[in-house]
Symmetry: C2
Subunit: 227 residues, 2 copies
C-alpha cells in the first residue's frame, strides 16, 4: 500500500483531498499545523475529519509563523476584511505553503512516501501566489534536489486534485465521496464553536460554491446565517 502525507487544515478543500487520497488507495498520514492562526476551530475540525476518515496517523505540529506575522491570519493587529478588495489580500500568510510542504516533505521521506496531497485551488481562491500550479511544480523540483530519497532517484509528487476545479466542483466531488462538510471550518474568523462569520473571503467563496452546486449550505453560521 502506498503512503501519502495529506495536509489537513480542517477546511472544505483539505477534507476533500483526504477523501480523494483515500479513494485512490493511499494509506493517509494527515498533517495539520498550529501556525498561530486566529482560532483553534479549524484544528478541532481537522481532528474530527482525520478521525472520521480513519487515517493511519494524524500529526498536529506547532509552527510559529506568528513569530514573524505580516498577515491578518497571524497578526491580531491586522483585521480580516469583510469585503473583497483588489490584489492579493492581507490574509495572505508569507511562505505558508512553502513551510507546510517543506515539513510534509521531511515527514514523507521518513515514511518512505513520495506522495504529498495539498488542497490548493487556483479557480475560486483568494489569489495567493503559493496556490498556483507554477509554485507546485517548482516545489516538486526542489523536493527531488533537497532530499536523500530524491538524490537516490525517487520522485516526489505534490498531488493537487483540486487545482483546476471550481468550488462547486470540489463540493460535488467531496459529496460523492461522502465528505460531511458540516464538520469543516473555512471561515477566517470562526468562533470557538466553529461557527462562521459569513462575510470573509473564505466564507464568500464557500457559500457561493454551495449555491453554484445547487446544494444546501451545511455551514454553521453565527446569527443563524443572517449576516
Amino acid at each position: 500500500m502506498k503512503k501519502a502525507v495529506v495536509l489537513l487544515s480542517g477546511g472544505l478543500d483539505s477534507a476533500t483531498i483526504l477523501a480523494i487520497a483515500k479513494q485512490q488507495g493511499y494509506v493517509c498520514h494527515a498533517l495539520s499545523f498550529d501556525y498561530g492562526q486566529r482560532h483553534g476551530a479549524e484544528l478541532n475540525a481537522a481532528r474530527f475529519i482525520a478521525e472520521q476518515a480513519r487515517v493511519m496517523e494524524h500529526k498536529l505540529v506547532r509552527i510559529e509563523l506568528d513569530s514573524y506575522g505580516g498577515s491578518a491570519l497571524t497578526d491580531s493587529r491586522i483585521a480580516v476584511p469583510d469585503s473583497p478588495g483588489s490584489g492579493i489580500p492581507v490574509t495572505y500568510v508569507p511562505a505558508r505553503n512553502t513551510v507546510f510542504l517543506a515539513f510534509a516533505l521531511g515527514w514523507a521521506e521518513v515514511l518512505g512516501s513520495f506522495d504529498i496531497f495539498i488542497g490548493v485551488n487556483a479557480v475560486d481562491y483568494s489569489g495567493y501566489p503559493d496556490c498556483r500550479p507554477e509554485f507546485v511544480q517548482a516545489f516538486e523540483k526542489l523536493a527531488g534536489l533537497a532530499t536523500k530519497a530524491g538524490v537516490e532517484g525517487g520522485r516526489f509528487t505534490v498531488h493537487t486534485p483540486l487545482l483546476h476545479l471550481s468550488k462547486a466542483e470540489i463540493i460535488l466531488a467531496g459529496r460523492a465521496l461522502g465528505v460531511d462538510y458540516a464538520h469543516t471550518v473555512s471561515c477566517y474568523s470562526a468562533d470557538d464553536h466553529g461557527r462562521a462569520c459569513g462575510v470573509c473571503d473564505s466564507c464568500r467563496l464557500r457559500k457561493a460554491g454551495f449555491a453554484a452546486a445547487g446544494l444546501e449550505d451545511p455551514t454553521r453560521y453565527r446569527n443563524g446565517g443572517i449576516v
Copy 2:
C-alpha cells in the same frame, strides 16, 4: 540599509556568514531553530554570536523536526557515528534546509528583505543534498513564485558565500573578519558546556580545517582534546 535574514545555527560556518553579511553592509536579522537537535549548546552559541555581532534582532524558533525524526540528530534512538561511512550519513535531517529556508523566506518577506544568508558548503561537507548549489538555485526559483513580493517583481537571493570554499578557507575568511571560533559549536554531540566530542563527522571536518589553515584549533574538546 539593506536587510538580510541570516540563518545562524551557532556553528563555525554560520558565524562566518553572519560576519560576511555584516561586512557587506546588511542589517542582519539572525534566525536560529530549536528543531529537536541533540543538544542546546549550539543554540547557546548562536545567542552569544548574535549578541557579539550586534544583530538587529535574533529570533529563536521551535520547529518540531523531531516529530518525524529519521536522523541521528533528531531521533535519540539513532546513534551519531564516530567514524566516517560511505554515502549520505545518518546525521542527514530530512528536509531541514528546505524548512529553514522556507521560514526565513516568510520572515524576509515581512521585513521587506530579499536577501537570505545560509552557510551551506559543498566542499568539506557531509554530502547532504540540501547543501548543494542546485538545491539553492531551485529554492530561489521557488521563492519568487511562492511570495507576494516575488509575484510583484521582487527577486530573492539566497546568499551562500561559503558554497565553494574549503573549511580552511572559511576559517581564514572568518578570522580576517574577527570571528572568534572558540564561541562556535560544530559537534553533533557537544555536552552541556559546549565541549566537542572530537570524533563525529562535523568535528573531523572542523579539526582538519584548522590544521589545513595552519591555525591553532580553539575548539573546546572533552578530555582536553585527547580522543
